[in-house]
Amino acid sequence: MPEQAQKTSGSPTPEVRDFLRRRREQIAQRWADEPLFRSVFTVSRDEAVEAGKSVVDALAQVADAERVEDPDAAGFAAVREQLARMGAARSRAGLSTGQVSTELAALRPPVENLLLSDLQGASADHTRASVTVLNVLMGTLRVVVMQTALSEGQSLIDRQRLQLLEVATPVIKLWDGIVAVPLIGTLDSARSQVVMETLLETIVEQQARHAILDITGVPAVDSLVAQHLMKTVAAARLMGAECIVSGIRPAIAQTMVHLGLDLGNVVTRASLADALGYVLHQLGVGIVTPGPNGAVPR
């Protein structure tokens, strides 16, 4: 018993810090299943877990500095942007500030349960003290998110969107005379304008005769996206390049049929590889397995 008494007499904050470091992975895994993380990181669960880990790290750092009540603690700095983005994403999805706050509050119980199971056998006082530290810390996290989400969330999103517009449109040379554009994300009017200009420039530069528009990364094709695609195809055609649209996923194909959209006389292929194979065939280029000395005839 004396040993226990000694172990529990110190400040509970370092213990919570050690707990956060020790259970980093498990906490992040549990958070990834909570509505807040689940609904912000819809594409990949790994991303949610990674985001969760960096939040746990920040909390541990704040606990390490004994600043659990301080929303301005330096430890929060590393995750402030990420938290802002998450909070802003939720409020833009139609949640009120109160609802966002409730989702944040839901992050506490899974951590508390882990802490309690780690504290099995500790004295009731010590357990209570540790849980209190954790609760204060999670409350502070909530304040941080609400602050940042309200102040910088929207402008941050707008800024990033503009950046995305500029960087997300590479035109790739696949072969002599063949270029490809892997389209990713929403093809709104602004994006498709950028895509079209970049593609046309590249067609001229590379003297390309074939262009592959790959839409594997486009989440939905509605009438406006289809219209943009067809305009791009028509413009490329005027520049002397034939377009192929690849990567129409089955769900999108079915939706397009119901919507009543077809891409006219545009050649389509299931995948970028199929499209490349098709064009090479058109060009009379045969792909031959390398000979024993590794030479590839071309």
Binding site: P35, R38, S39, T42, R92, A93, G94, L95, Q99, T102, I157, D158, R161, T186, D188, S189, A190, P219, A220, V221, D222, S223, L224, A226, Q227, P250, A251, I252, Q254, T255, H258, L259, G260, L261
Partner: protein
């Protein structure tokens, strides 16, 4: 209810960026309610069409999402509302290929084919309300039912 899919929500439709949020939100709700990938895509696409009409022709408005349950089957209702000029000739507007702008004229008629229930209310000067509903696991309407 308090889950991601459970809450009724109203989203503004005032800009291109709002359209993006509308699609995201519908995708998330449909997934959380148990819609399969194809049905999610259909709902998102219908929402995209209707929300863009709200923005472009209605001068902006809102989308309301309502999760439903009927005899154990989950469903999702989307209501698009604007206070714009309204539509004088609904039949013409619903016709494939009719556009008063620069579109393909496929939005309204197409959206109707992508969902299970479709209702539109509009009169000149009084704005437009379009309400669509789909149910999890129910087969799509056949052409002749539309």
């Amino acid at each position: 209810m308090d889950t991601a899919a459970g809450a009724q929500a109203r989203l503004p439709i005032r800009s291109d960026m709002d359209l993006m949020w509308v699609r995201q939100h519908v995708r998330q709700m449909a997934a959380a309610l148990g819609f399969g990938l194809v049905d999610q895509t259909k709902l998102v696409t219908a929402a995209s069409e209707l929300a863009r009409n709200t923005l472009v022709y209605g001068g902006g408005g809102t989308m309301e999402t309502t999760p439903l349950a009927e005899g154990g089957t989950p469903g999702l209702r989307l209501t698009f509302r604007d206070e714009g000029p309204g539509i004088a000739d609904l039949e013409q507007a619903l016709q494939d290929g009719f556009t008063s702008g620069e579109g393909l004229g496929m939005g309204l008629g197409g959206a109707r084919r992508l969902v299970h229930e479709f209702a539109i209310e509009s009169s000149p000067g009084a704005g437009t309300t379009v309400r669509v509903t789909s149910w999890v696991g129910r087969p799509p309407l056949r052409r002749e039912e539309v």
